[in-house]
C-alpha cells in the first residue's frame, strides 16, 4: 500500500483490517471499508477504465452511483463474472479480483485508442452516413467490426449459480434515501407509530454526512453529526415497526405507489454462505412515500476535462473524509459553485497542495474566496479552462481569464483537478412516478412539482441543500406522510396533489452552479466531454443541432448523450444547457428526456427471482402421476400439466410404443389418465337454460343420466372448446372441457352468468382437481370394470353416452360410458384422493384382460382414426362448427346461443371455407407432416395459394396405413378427388376422404 496516499487517521475505514485484492491481475492492498475505487486511489491508481467509443483513458469522476468511467468486471469464478460494475460501488473484500474492460491488449496500452485519432471522421451519428456500399457488406464486413468495437464488458458465459430472492411488502411510509433528510423523515414518521421502511443504496446510512470531515462536522440536535447519525440509526434499528434496508436501491416507481427495491446481500462478502441469496428484490406498496434522494454534483464541460485525475470536488472530499485517501498531491480547482471551496480547504489541510482555484463566476466578494485566499490559495474569477495535459493522468491545466483569451492563459502543473458545476437534484424516482418537474431558474435545476402519486420530496432532491433546512424538511415530510398514511378516512389509491405540496425551497446558498459548457475564447480547440462514458462532446451536440435535430430526445438518440450505463446522471443537464445555448431557447423549452426505470442498472436475476427450472411455472400433476412416472412414462407439457405421452417398454421409440398401445386398446383394453380434462359443475334451477344459451347444443331434451357432446363457440362464431356434458340430475350438469381450456371456459361462463344473464339461478364450480378420471377403453373394458363397480354395465342399462352414480371398490364414483377412442369405453370419476387406489384396482383387475397403459399420443391416434377433432389442433380459432363437420351438434330450434349470430355473417357461410376431411396418401406408408399444405395441383410454384393444410397425421396400426385429417377449401365436396400435399421433396398425392377412418358405423362404440 502506498502509505503516502492514505491518511494516518480519520474516515470510516478500519486501517487495522488490510484486504488483499487484484486489479487486472496485479495485487494490491486496501482496508476494510474501502470501495474498489478508494482502494485503487490509495494505491495511486487513477486509470481505471476506457471510454466506450474513443477508448480514452479514464479515472474516477465521481464516488457513487453516478460514476461514468470506472467500470470494471468482478470475477469470483467462471460463472460468477459480473461486468460493468462501478468501482465506486464495489465494496472491497479479501481476495476481490477485478478486471478492466473494453481494452486490448491492456488498460495502459489499448489498440482501440486508434479510434481517438480517427475522432474527426467519426462524429456523432457517423454510422448513419456510411457503411452502405456495397449493399451486402454491412452484414459481413461493417457490422461485425462495429459490434466487436462496441460493448463494454464481457457477458458471463456460464449459468449463474447464485440465488435471487423476492419479497412483497406493505408499509405506511417508505423513505428512499438515508441521508440527513431521509433519516429525519424516518425518525419523525416512526415517532408517530407508523410502519416505516427506509432504504439507501449505500452500505451505510448517512448520505452526505459520510463525506463530511468528522472533526469539523456540524452539530445536529445538539450532538456532533456522527453521533447523531449513529444514534438515530440505532434508534430506528431497534424499532420493531421500522425496516432498515442498507445496500438497497429503489430503482423504480410504479403506479399506485409500488416501488421496486434491489437489495444486495452477498456481493460485498468474501465468502458468502451458499444459502444466502445474492440479491433480493422488494416490491413495496407504500401508503405514502418520501423521496430523500439527494443531489448529484455536476461536472464542468471544458476541453480535456476527461483525463484521469480530473474529478468532482465532492468526490475528492469523500475520498479524503470517508476513505482517508488523498486523490492527488497537487490540485487545481475549477468551480462554478461554493461547494468546491470547503473541498479545497479540507484537502489542503490534509496535505494536498492546492495550486489555485479557478472560479468561473464573476463575483469576487464571496466569503469562501476570502477564506481560500487567507489559506494562501490563489483564486481566479471569471475563469475558464482552455485545456489539460497528460495521458494516463492529468499533468497540467491551462487556465485563462474569460476576457484574456489564450494570451493570458497560464498552464499549471497538477495531478488532480477538482471541478464543481453545482448540484442536480435527483428527481429520477419522482419523475418515474409521473410527477411534473418544474424548472427553477434560481437553482438552475428541475425540481419536483405536482406529484402524481402519494409522494413527498425532502432535502436536496427538491433543492433544499443546507443541512439544517434539509433536516427540518425531512422531519416535516416524514411527519406529514405518517399522518396521511394512518388517517382513518383514507380510501382508494388516487393520488393527491395537495398531499405533497410543500413550501418552495429556499434559494441555494452556494449558488446555482452552471449548466452547459464553460465559455471559450474564439478559436478554442480540444474536445470538451459532456457524456464521459459515451464520449459525447460539445462538438457532437453542435453537429446534431446543425443537422436539424431540435428535440432533446432526438439529440439524445443521435449523439447517444445520456444513454450510457450512468443514464446521464452527470451529463444530462450540461447537455441541456449546451443545446439551450445553441438553439437560443431557455432550458425548460428545450425539454427534458424521460427518466426511465431503473435508477441504476439492476440484475436480470433479481427480476427473475426464484423462477427457474422447476419453479419457472407451477407444475400440475394428476393423482396418478407417480404411477406413470414409475412406469417410465414420457411426459409432455400441456399448459401447466405434465401428461404421460406414451409408456415405452425397454428401448422402444415413440412410434413403436404408440403402435403397440393403439393395438392394445383396439384388441383388448387400455387404461388412460384423463384427469387433466377440465371439469365444471353447473348447478341450479336455471342450469339447463344456461347451458342452452351458452353451448350450441340443445340441452332441454337431454335426459338425466345421459351425456352429450357439447360444443362451445365464442360470440364471434368460432369453435372455442368442446367436451362431453352429462346431466347428472335435473338441475346439475357435469361439464368437461379440454385440458388447456378449463380456466377460460369457466371464466367465459362466469362472464355471461354474472354480466349478461344475472337473472339465472346457476352456480358454477371448477371440479377439475376434485375428480380423478381413469379411462378404461377397449373391447374388454366392461370385463375389467365389472367386478369392481356396483352398477349394471350392460349396454341396455348403461348405453354409450350415459352416466351413472355408484361406487367402485367402495369409493363414490360418477361412471361415464363415453369413448374418445371409438371402442367400448368408460371414464371412472372418483374423488381425487382415491384416484391412485382406484387406478391400482383397475390395473389389477385388468391384468386378466391384457390391460395396457396408454398416453396422450396414443389417444390422439385413436381419436384421429375415428375422425374426432382436437380443439386447438384440428381447429385454430378460425374454424366454425360446420367447418369442423360438427354442424349436427347445433340445436336447430334454439333462438340464440353464443356465436349463433356470427355464423350468419357472409364469410362464415361460404361454401369455399376450409372443411375438415380425411386425407389418404396414395402410398399408405407415407405419413404426412403436420401443417403441410394441400394444393390443388402438383408442381405449384411459390407463391402459390394452398387449399388447406394437414391438421393431424399419424400412422394407424389398426389400419396398417397412414391417416390424416385436414382442413381443405370446399373439402366435403371434394371427397374422392386427388389433391397434392406440398413438401420440399415434391408433392405427395392424397385422396380426399371421409374423416372417419375406422368403424364408421360405430358398432364397437355401442358394443
Amino acid at each position: 500500500m502506498n502509505e503516502g496516499l492514505r491518511t494516518r487517521e480519520g474516515g470510516r475505514i478500519d486501517r487495522s483490517r488490510g484486504l488483499h485484492f487484484s486489479f487486472d491481475g496485479r495485487a494490491y492492498t486496501g482496508v476494510a471499508g474501502d470501495t474498489l475505487a478508494s482502494a485503487l486511489l490509495a494505491n495511486g491508481v487513477h486509470l481505471m477504465g476506457r471510454s466506450f467509443k474513443y477508448h480514452r483513458p479514464r479515472g474516477v469522476l465521481a464516488c457513487g452511483a453516478e460514476e461514468p468511467n470506472a467500470l470494471v468486471a468482478v470475477r469470483r469464478d467462471a460463472a460468477r463474472y459480473t461486468p460493468n460494475l462501478r468501482a465506486t460501488q464495489v465494496e472491497l473484500y479479501e481476495g476481490l479480483a477485478a478486471h478492466s474492460q473494453n481494452r486490448w491488449p491492456s488498460l495502459a496500452f489499448d489498440l482501440g485508442a486508434v479510434n481517438d485519432l480517427l475522432a474527426p471522421f467519426i462524429p456523432a451519428g457517423f454510422y448513419y452516413k456510411t457503411f452502405m456500399w456495397p449493399r451486402r457488406a454491412w452484414q459481413w464486413l461493417y457490422e461485425p467490426r462495429i459490434r466487436a468495437a462496441a460493448g463494454l464488458g464481457r457477458a458471463p458465459t456460464e449459468a449463474d449459480p447464485d440465488r435471487y430472492a423476492s419479497r412483497y411488502a406493505h408499509c405506511d411510509v417508505l423513505i428512499v434515501g438515508a441521508g440527513p433528510a431521509g433519516l429525519a423523515a424516518a425518525a419523525a414518521a416512526a415517532a408517530s407509530g407508523a410502519r416505516v421502511m427506509l432504504c439507501d443504496e449505500q452500505n451505510e446510512f448517512g448520505g452526505s454526512l459520510l463525506a463530511d470531515d468528522p472533526r469539523a462536522a456540524a452539530a445536529i440536535e445538539g450532538r456532533p453529526a456522527p453521533q447523531w447519525l449513529r444514534e438515530t440509526s440505532a434508534a430506528l434499528g431497534s424499532n420493531a415497526r421500522v425496516t432498515l434496508l442498507p445496500r438497497t436501491t429503489a430503482f423504480g416507481y410504479f403506479p399506485h405507489n409500488l416501488l421496486g427495491l434491489n437489495e444486495r446481500l452477498s456481493d460485498h462478502l468474501a465468502d458468502p454462505h451458499p444459502d444466502l441469496p445474492r440479491e433480493r428484490q422488494w416490491q413495496v406498496r407504500a401508503r405514502e412515500v418520501v423521496l430523500a434522494t439527494g443531489a448529484i454534483e455536476r461536472p464542468l464541460v471544458f476541453p480535456g476535462n476527461d483525463r484521469p485525475g480530473i474529478m468532482l470536488a465532492g468526490a475528492a472530499r469523500t475520498w479524503l473524509n470517508r476513505y482517508g485517501v488523498l486523490p492527488g498531491t497537487r490540485a487545481v480547482v475549477v468551480t462554478a459553485h461554493d461547494e468546491a471551496y470547503p473541498a479545497a480547504l479540507e484537502l489542503q489541510a490534509a496535505g494536498v497542495f492546492i495550486a489555485s482555484i479557478a472560479d468561473v463566476r464573476a463575483r469576487d466578494d464571496g466569503s469562501w474566496a476570502a477564506r481560500a485566499r487567507a489559506a494562501g490559495i490563489p483564486v481566479l474569477t471569471r475563469a475558464t479552462v482552455l485545456g489539460t495535459g497528460g495521458r494516463r493522468r492529468v499533468n497540467s491545466i491551462l487556465l485563462a481569464q474569460l476576457e484574456g483569451g489564450e494570451a493570458g492563459a497560464q498552464a499549471q502543473p497538477c495531478d488532480l483537478v477538482l471541478m464543481c458545476g453545482g448540484f442536480t437534484p435527483s428527481v429520477h424516482l419522482f419523475s418515474q412516478s409521473r410527477g411534473k418537474l418544474c424548472w427553477d431558474e434560481g437553482l438552475q435545476a428541475f425540481l419536483p412539482g405536482t406529484p402524481a402519486e402519494r409522494v413527498r420530496s425532502a432535502g436536496a432532491c427538491r433543492g433544499v441543500f443546507a443541512l439544517d433546512a434539509a433536516l427540518a424538511d425531512g422531519a416535516a415530510a416524514g411527519a406529514a406522510a405518517a399522518r396521511e398514511a394512518t388517517a382513518p378516512a383514507r380510501t382508494g389509491v388516487c393520488p393527491s396533489g395537495a398531499a405533497a405540496a410543500a413550501a418552495a425551497p429556499p434559494a441555494a446558498g452556494g449558488g446555482a452552479g452552471f449548466a452547459g459548457a464553460l465559455p471559450q475564447p474564439a478559436g478554442a480547440r480540444g474536445r470538451a466531454f459532456v457524456d464521459w462514458q459515451n464520449d459525447v462532446t460539445t462538438g457532437d451536440l453542435a453537429l446534431a443541432t446543425r443537422e436539424g435535430f431540435r428535440s432533446i430526445e432526438h439529440i439524445k438518440r443521435y449523439t447517444t448523450t445520456g444513454m450510457a450505463t450512468d443514464q446521464g446522471k452527470t451529463s444530462n443537464l450540461n447537455a441541456l444547457g449546451i443545446v439551450s445555448c445553441t438553439l437560443g431557447k431557455p432550458i425548460p423549452e428545450v425539454g427534458l428526456t424521460s427518466f426511465r426505470m431503473p435508477y441504476t442498472p439492476v440484475s436480470f436475476g433479481s427480476f427473475a427471482g426464484p423462477a427457474r427450472g422447476e419453479l419457472f411455472d407451477p407444475v400440475r400433476t394428476t393423482p396418478m402421476h407417480e404411477w406413470a412416472r414409475a412406469r417410465g412414462a414420457v411426459f409432455e407439457d400441456v399448459g401447466l400439466w405434465k401428461r404421460a405421452r406414451y409408456f415405452p417398454r425397454g428401448a422402444e421409440h415413440m412410434h413403436a410404443a404408440v403402435g403397440r398401445e393403439c393395438l392394445a386398446v383396439r384388441n383388448a383394453c387400455g387404461i388412460f389418465d384423463a384427469s387433466t380434462l377440465g371439469k365444471i359443475e353447473v348447478v341450479g334451477k336455471d342450469a339447463v337454460t344456461f347451458m342452452n344459451r351458452l353451448y350450441v347444443n340443445a340441452w332441454t331434451g337431454l335426459a338425466v343420466g345421459r351425456c352429450r357432446y357439447g360444443l362451445l363457440l365464442r360470440d364471434d362464431g368460432f369453435v372455442y372448446d368442446d367436451g362431453v356434458v352429462a346431466r347428472v340430475s335435473e338441475n346439475r350438469f357435469h361439464v368437461t372441457t379440454t385440458t388447456g381450456g378449463a380456466p377460460r371456459v369457466l371464466a367465459m361462463m362466469e362472464d355471461y352468468l354474472q354480466t349478461e344473464w344475472s337473472d339465472l339461478k346457476v352456480w358454477l364450480t371448477s371440479t377439475t382437481e376434485q375428480w380423478a378420471v381413469v379411462a378404461v377403453q377397449g373391447p374388454k373394458a366392461r370385463a375389467v370394470l365389472a367386478g369392481l363397480v356396483d352398477i349394471d354395465l350392460a349396454a341396455a342399462a348403461l348405453p354409450h353416452m350415459s352416466v351413472a352414480l355408484g361406487r367402485i371398490s367402495g369409493v363414490p364414483m360418477r361412471l361415464f360410458r363415453v369413448s374418445f377412442t371409438g371402442e367400448l369405453g368408460f371414464e371412472v370419476n372418483v374423488p381425487a384422493d382415491f384416484g391412485p387406489a382406484v387406478w391400482e384396482a383397475l390395473w389389477d383387475a385388468g391384468q386378466a384382460h391384457d390391460i395396457t397403459p396408454y398416453g396422450t399420443e396414443t389417444m390422439h391416434v385413436l381419436r384421429a382414426e375415428k375422425g374426432y377433432i382436437i380443439v386447438g389442433q384440428d381447429t385454430d380459432g378460425t374454424v366454425t362448427p360446420d367447418d369442423a363437420g360438427l354442424g349436427w351438434a347445433i340445436g336447430k330450434n334454439k333462438p340464440d346461443f353464443v356465436g349463433k349470430r356470427s355464423l350468419e355473417r357472409p364469410a362464415m357461410t361460404s361454401p369455399q371455407r376450409r372443411q375438415l376431411v380425411g386425407l389418404l396418401t396414395t402410398d399408405p406408408q407415407v405419413v404426412l407432416e403436420d401443417g403441410a399444405q394441400v394444393m390443388a395441383q402438383a408442381g405449384a410454384r411459390a407463391p402459390a395459394r394452398a387449399l388447406g393444410h394437414v391438421t393431424s397425421s399419424y400412422h394407424s396400426s389398426v389400419l396398417g396405413r397412414s391417416i390424416a385429417l385436414g382442413l381443405v377449401a370446399g373439402g366435403r365436396a371434394r371427397i374422392g378427388e386427388t389433391l397434392y400435399v406440398s413438401v420440399p421433396a415434391g408433392d405427395i398425392p392424397v385422396q380426399v376422404a371421409s374423416p372417419v377412418f375406422y368403424d364408421p358405423q360405430g358398432r364397437r362404440l355401442h358394443a
Binding site: R80, P601, D637, A907
Partner: protein, 416 residues
Amino acid sequence: MQPFSGLALLRRGLSGQRGWTTQWRSPPPKAAYDALIVGGGGHGLGAAYYLASEHHLTNIAVLEKGWIGGGNTGRNTTIIRSNYLFDESAALYDHAVRLWERLSQVLNYNVMFSQRGVMMLAHTVHDAQVFKRHVHANRVNGVDNEWLTPEQAKAFCPLLNTGNIRYPVLGAALQRRGGTARHDAVAWGYARAADALGVDIIENCEVTGIRRNASGAVEGVETTRGTIRAPRIGVAAAGHTSVIMKMAGIELPLESYPLQALVSEPVKPVFPCVVMSNTIHAYISQSDKGELVIGAGTDAYTSYTQRGGLHITSHALEAICELFPMFRRLRMLRNWGGIVDVTPDRSPIIARTPVPGLYVNCGWGTGGFKATPGSAHVFAWTIARDEPHPLNAPFTLERFRDGQLIDEAAAAAVAH
C-alpha cells in the same frame, strides 16, 4: 439533400464536420396541402416518402404531435420477419422485408438492416405443430422459414439452454432473412428523403380536429398550429388512432395497450441472432451497441400512459434467464413502454374509410416496426389512387363486419 457517404465524412472531417446542414427542414405549416399524413412515425413518414417518390404528390405534409419517430418507431425491439401464416399477411410482411433489404441504399441513410436470422422456439408438441404449419405455408408462399431440431437450434444460438428447463426446446422455426434494424434511422431516413422531395415535416403539431365539408368528405385538420386544408388525409397514429379517427366520427375496432421493452448494459458481442419464444414470452437480440434488447408482453388493460407493470417486466426476464441462464448477472439498463393499437384479429387495417378522403393505417399491435416500409408503401398507394394496393386489399375495416378475419393470433398462437 447532402449525400451521405464515407467519403463525405472524411472530407468534412477535415473541417470539423462543420459542413453538414439540416437533415430535414422545420417549415411552418402551409395553409393547404394536397395531402396530409397524421403521425410522424415510420409508417407515416414512409408513406409521405412514397407518395412523393412514387406518386409524385410532393405538396404534402406530415403532422407529428411530438418529435418524429418518438412513438412506437423509437420504442420497439426492432425485430423484422415475414414468416406469417396466412397468405395475406405473409405477402404484406414479405413485401416489407424486400424493401428493407434495399432501404439503406434507397434512402441513402444507413438503417442497419441486419439479417441475423429470427428463431422462434417451440416448447410443446402443440408449438411444434403450429410452427411446422408455418414453415409449410411459408414455403408455398415463397417466404423463407425452416424447421430446426433442438440440436440445430442450439447450434444456431449456442447460448440457448436446452438442459434443465421447465419447458424444453423441442425445435424452432428459423427465418434467416429476418433480423433487426436501427429504429431511429428509419424515421430519420424517411424524413430526410421525403424532405428532399419537398415534403414538409411539421413537428410539435397536434391534430385536434378533422374538418369535413358538406358532402362529408375531409377538407383539412385543426391543429395546435392552426388549420391546415387538404383533400386527402392519411392517419398513421398507432396507439392514438382511435382518438384521431373519432374526430371524423369513425369508431374503430381498436384497443391500445401498453407494451414494454428493455435493454441491458452493453456487452461485447455474445448473441448472434434474434430469439423469440411465444410460449414463455421472451424476445431477445443484441444491438450493434452491445445492449441486449428484450421485449416483454403487453399489459392486460388499455392505457395511454406509455408504461406497464413491473410484473410484466419481471416475467419477460424470468423467461430470458430461463433460456439464457448466463444472463442472470447482466443488468437492466433502461425500460420503457409504448402504446400498441390492437385489432380483434391482430392484423392491421390499411384502408379507405367511410369518410371520403380519409385513410387509415393502424392496428399493427406489437408487429408494426417490421412492416414499416411495406405498410408505408401500400398506404401511399391507397391514398394516391383512392384504392388499395392488391397487398393491402384484404386489410379492410369491413372485414370485421363480414367475418373475413385474418386471424394470425388465433391461427398461430404466435405473437407478432
